[in-house]
């Protein structure tokens, strides 16, 4: 195995249609160190490291390993050079077992015969050395997100990677899992691996890294030894301005708008995803649903939207039983839904901005004559939204895919809010959106709350949950394992709840497995 002592990227430039993703960036990592790469969404972090991994080719600049220039035509070259990467979006084949995923692309010790047993035992070794628990025989689709990440890391280690790149590895983990991961990373560094750690969470960067490089709009904002900097300096480097945090007014409680009673539903894998969820959301209240992804949040949202069949239990919108009714009926009843997967479920890339505004309402009498679309009325409405929500787009006819992630998210939010919903379900409303847009969206949500809408905020970003929610509900394995009022629980407590551990002595959480309505 060829150990990398030092890897260096010089003066890297990478363009994409419509973006200068990397603008003359320098970046280097040494053996045994953790070098953090910090930056907002879209700053160019993934793009930079993807070039290091041979997924993209730099338009300008060069990559050197131990001082020697190298050109990677494909990941195969990078892997051969001893580079491994844990992708922001996992790169696993769900229909294959862990061992098969690890063995994929490697020659077998038995020539034309697969040697999965050999691979399996090697995997068990690695998991001992680095504390990465996985079952080699399990199918990937059966694994929780945290486990899947471990598989990704093992894949890299198995290939003898001496430089390992982790692209936002903590985004999907509980605070405890993050701690475990950091332990692993430390060990790896100790073993002499070079690590690149991507994140936009300052405290993580402070905790794990030896050096930190910040990117802003694809440009270098500087490289510092972590020891020598404060969070505030890093925030400055990353955003280029002060970040204001909002102080929402306490809510005025209104009537219950959304009542969920003992809800049961199956998941995509035929296992029960919701196991008796009960929850009330009142007008003028934001209930934050925290939890590690894959614990039933998605399924709950889909049940509420009428996109997943409820096997047992009841859903009421303003005391009307909606359990069996279709999405359209719920929309008429005043429900609005911002789906988690923006690009997949929330919008149509190829449709124009205007066409996307009317995904629900294209048949609304206001915008049609009979079965014919009334382009005049549609244009007027679309233009109104675009200007009111300050969405950046060349024109109303621009295909949506040419808009930035944040602007797309703004458009979806605008579309949903423009219906003056009685109940709003917002799933991961600011995922993959930069701080500017995030602030904007948060303001809108609070505004809507004060206007009396009942809002169920589903997010994996604990900071977001704690900042916005009047009431925090934690989900674990299809059940609500804790309900905490604003400010009455530390991230650690929440983390433990998210991990399914009822923290001893934390009364707030312990006794709160009852629906919140009961508390009040």
């Amino acid at each position: 195995m060829n150990a990398i002592k030092r890897i260096e990227m010089r003066d890297i430039v990478k363009r994409f249609p419509g973006v200068l993703a990397n603008d003359h960036v320098d970046f280097d990592v040494n053996a045994g160190e953790v070098h953090a790469l910090l930056g907002e969404n879209g700053a160019g972090k993934s793009t930079l490291v993807r070039q290091l991994y041979g997924l993209y080719r730099p338009d300008e600049g060069e990559i050197l390993i131990d001082g020697r220039p190298v050109v990677f035509h494909s990941p195969a070259d990078a892997i051969r050079a001893g580079i491994g990467m844990i992708h922001q979006h996992f790169m696993l084949v769900p229909t294959l077992t862990v061992a098969e995923n690890v063995a994929l692309g490697l020659p077998s010790s038995r020539g034309v015969r697969l040697d999965l047993d050999v691979v399996a035992s090697r995997i068990t070794e690695l998991s001992h050395t680095y504390g990465l628990k996985v079952d080699p025989a399990a199918y990937v689709w059966q694994l929780a997100v945290g486990e899947q990440q471990r598989v990704e890391i093992i894949k890299a280690l198995y290939r003898g990677a001496s430089l390992i790149i982790l692209d936002e590895p903590t985004a999907v983990l509980t605070p405890q899992e993050v701690d475990d991961l950091f332990v692993t990373l430390r060990r790896m560094a100790g073993e002499g691996h070079a690590l690149t750690f991507i994140s936009h969470k300052l405290h993580e960067v402070m905790a794990i890294s030896d050096r930190v490089t910040a990117l802003r709009d694809g440009r270098m904002a500087g490289t510092r030894p972590t020891a020598g900097v404060t969070k505030e300096e890093l925030a400055q480097m990353m955003v280029g301005r002060e970040v204001k945090s909002l102080a929402p007014q306490p809510m005025q409680r209104r009537d219950v708008r959304l009542r969920i009673h003992a809800l049961h539903a199956m998941g995509d894998r035929g296992t029960e995803a919701l196991r008796g969820v009960s929850l009330d959301v009142c007008g003028g209240q934001i209930v934050g649903l925290a939890g590690v992804s894959g614990n039933g949040q998605r399924e709950l949202a889909q049940c509420l939207a009428g996109l997943r069949t409820v096997t047992d239990g009841r859903i009421e919108i303003e005391t009307r039983d909606m359990t069996g009714s279709s999405l359209n009926e719920r929309i008429d009843a005043g429900l609005a839904y911002v789906p988690e997967e923006r690009m997949r479920d929330g919008a149509i890339r190829e449709f124009s901005v205007q066409e996307n505004v009317f995904l629900h309402e294209h048949a609304d009498p206001r915008f049609t004559h009979g079965i014919f679309l009334d382009f005049g009325a549609m244009k007027a409405h679309a233009r109104d939204l675009v200007t009111r929500f300050s969405i950046k787009t060349p024109s109303l006819d621009t295909p949506l895919k040419n808009l930035s992630g944040g602007n797309i998210q703004k458009l979806i939010l605008a579309r949903e809010l423009s219906r003056k919903p009685r109940v709003l379900i917002a799933a991961q409303p600011t995922r993959g959106v930069d701080i500017g847009a995030t602030e904007y969206i948060h303001e809108r949500l609070l505004e809507q709350r004060d206007a009396g809408t009942a809002i169920l905020l589903i997010s994996e970003d604990l900071d977001e949950i704690q900042e916005l929610s009047d009431l925090i509900v934690v989900m674990y394995e299809g059940q609500i394992v804790g309900t905490v009022a604003r400010g009455s629980a530390s991230p650690e407590t929440l983390g433990l709840l998210m991990a399914g551990v009822a923290p001893a002595g934390d009364r707030g959480a312990a006794e709160s497995v009852r629906p919140p309505a009961a508390i009040a």
């Binding site: 249609p17 419509g18 973006v19 939207a305 996109l307 279709s326 999405l327 359209n328 929309i331 839904y337 789906p339 997967e341 997949r344 479920d345 929330g346 919008a347 149509i348 890339r349 190829e350 449709f351 124009s352 205007q354 066409e355 009317f358 995904l359 629900h360 294209h362 048949a363 049609t368 079965i371 014919f372 679309l373 382009f375 233009r383 675009v386 200007t387 300050s390 969405i391 950046k392 787009t393 060349p394 024109s395 109303l396 006819d397 621009t398 295909p399 895919k401 040419n402």
Partner: protein
Amino acid sequence: MAIGIGGPSTGRATRGHDVVGMLLGASLPLLAVAAALLIGAVMLMLLNADPVRAYGALLEGAFGSTSGITQSLVKATPLLLVGLGICIAFRASVINIGAEGQIILGAVAATWFALEFRTMPGWFLIPGTIVMGFTAGAFWGFVPGILKARLGVNEILTTVMMNAIALQFMNFMIRGPLIDPAGVTAGQYLAQSEKLPEQVWLMRLVPQTLLHAGIFVALALAVVTYVFLWRTTIGYRIRAVGLNPDASRYAGIRVPVYQALSLTLAGGLAGVAGAVEVIGVQHRLLDGITSGYGFSGIVTALFGGLHPLGTIPASFVFGGLLVGADKMQRAVQVPSALIQAILGLIVLFVVGSQYWARRRAARRIDALATAAPTVGADEVAA
């Protein structure tokens, strides 16, 4: 799905700024055809036939004379009708390979209707047969449609199978229930129906040619299809379903319904093609009524960038190609199989060529995305 990039991606785009795309959508397939013809030329030389003379004959036969042009239009009619159906289906990202069978069903139903009500006047009979054709074809499209929608049975396969079934069904009809009595008495059991009553024949537009009023039916339906796809709520949903079924579902659109609907409509249009072929050209039902329009219709739609209006010129060009090919066969006496091979190459090259169309489209994002003023500015400009 990857196809259709050649044409404008939204209806509004046709009214203005996607001119490049349209030109590209038009020119690229032509280049592809040229490439295929080039290889054809090599084959011709191997068969020691003179390519120049051969292709001269092809052009001349297609567009060089009244009979050529009219014959091209005669073929363009069913091609356009089938192609329109293909446009609708592909916009819902449903692949319809069943046009052959749908044409047959349409033709059989039309024939049956015209013979059953032979005493009726033309003003009733002509629309009647066309509606019958549509209904029967639509049914033949509905079956695979519903199977896909409800049970996720792959439509490519069901439509292929149903072509075979339709063929046998017609065989049964034209030598059983619908067989020409005259043929039977004459002691020769020809696989063809009785001649249809004169009042159902579509008007011939040019004397001494087969050109018939069916072309107007096709053109009218092309406009209808365009309006349907880009000006109506149903068309909006079909396109949404095709581009992103998930988002459509989240928007409360019943995806399976619109997939089934698109296949049904596609079948209906193919059925009309069958009916028009019967009352416009053959005046009876007989073996080989589809003459491969079910497949060449797909290519035609591709030529037209899967756009109803683009398919109009495409059908004329492709119709001409087919007519010219026959003329070429006569002129240089090469086996008709050669033309078939060349047509196959044309299909391959046309779909292949769209690779560059996509490249081109991608580069256009650049221009749009780099300068991204807010809408306000855009309105000023507009």
